[in-house]
Symmetry: C2
Subunit: 211 residues, 2 copies
């Protein structure tokens, strides 16, 4: 398969494919001569995955490169892949360490205890959650900082579904990819479902007159 066929098989333009090759997201094709290369089905799959991570998962190109590297490194244990995928979706200013002890970090620790969770202190979720809580108060909406109880229960349900799906996978070598795709795209799915549920519950609580 040559580059133009790879392009038409995936809908990605040839210049973009060349860009991903340059950036190291897509492995080089097998060179058949000085300036001819052939691409396999695995390149089609990889390219679809790249676009999924970038377009649907919202990852930056450089971040996508990192998680693809984690998928390819078969020596990495699964928990490690999880961590890399988590850090990838968390690759925004949101997750930069909050300096020192804040109300947010305190509340997050309390909730972790209450839920009986066992979470390592470098989990990016801790920083992210603490920052959101602190922001709620900062913008003058401390009432939102109490929204926790429902969210934490829900997060545990989600994580159970996540792990059950990963465990159900029979092909062991595909599990790393499942973990990455599930973690990165799962956020978008949860948000989308939240939008729908919000409208439903909102209709129950504030019934609008039919137009």
């Amino acid at each position: 398969m040559r580059i133009s066929e790879l392009s038409s098989a995936t809908g990605v333009t040839v210049p973009s494919i060349k860009y991903y090759l340059r950036e190291g997201l897509l492995p080089q094709g097998e060179l058949t001569s000085a300036n001819q290369a052939s691409y396999a089905d695995s390149h089609v799959q990889r390219l679809k995955l790249i676009r999924a991570l970038i377009d649907v998962g919202g990852l930056a190109v450089a971040t996508a490169k990192d998680v693809l590297g984690a998928i390819d490194d078969t020596s990495l244990p699964l928990t490690c892949v999880f961590g890399i995928a988590q850090r990838a979706v968390s690759d925004t200013s949101l997750y930069e360490p909050v300096e020192g002890e804040t109300d947010g970090t305190r509340q997050v620790r309390e909730t972790i205890d209450r839920m009986g969770w066992h979470v390592s202190s470098d989990n990016p979720g801790i920083q992210g959650a603490a920052r959101v809580i602190d922001t709620y108060t900062r913008v003058g909406h401390p009432e939102l900082a109490q929204i926790w109880e429902g969210y934490a229960e829900a997060a545990e349900l989600i994580a159970r579904a996540d792990l059950a799906t990963v465990a159900r996978n029979e092909r062991l070598e595909a599990m790393a990819e499942t973990v990455v795709v599930g973690t990165v795209l799962g956020d978008a799915l949860v948000s989308s479902l939240r939008r729908m549920a919000q409208e439903h519950i909102s209709n129950l609580q504030f019934p609008a007159p039919k137009e």
Copy 2:
């Protein structure tokens, strides 16, 4: 309060404040003469809100302008503000309409029915969820498309917590802002909690040897 005081009160640089003024996110200060303006506490609050939406919520500047407009428009009913906030967080390629009937849209409709939700057909979550489902299959991980059951239950829990918090607000004129902040920042909070819960559940299912 002059612009430099506004700057030091919020930690936002003077050029950035000028930029937000230009773009219409921050209302002009009251002109005391041809080239002197004074800013009030409301400007400090607004500026903090702007940075929260952009930095923590991840909104684009232009999108933040839209939701701020929705907060200010007191004639808008709350359900409308909800919709605008939802569309704001959904302002990525993820939510562009999927053309035609796909497996994803079919599965989303099924889930909506099963959950007994009442969701209008232009809810951005429908497009977003459908696209994620379709992407799961496209990248060769159809097993993830079954992750639904847990997610939908969890989304309903989250939405209940959201609505309960909004309803609990005593100041009616602040409810629109609560809705926006809760919707926009809530996604980040849910994702963060998901990261923590994932690590916890992952430790339960795949206990790692202590180093």
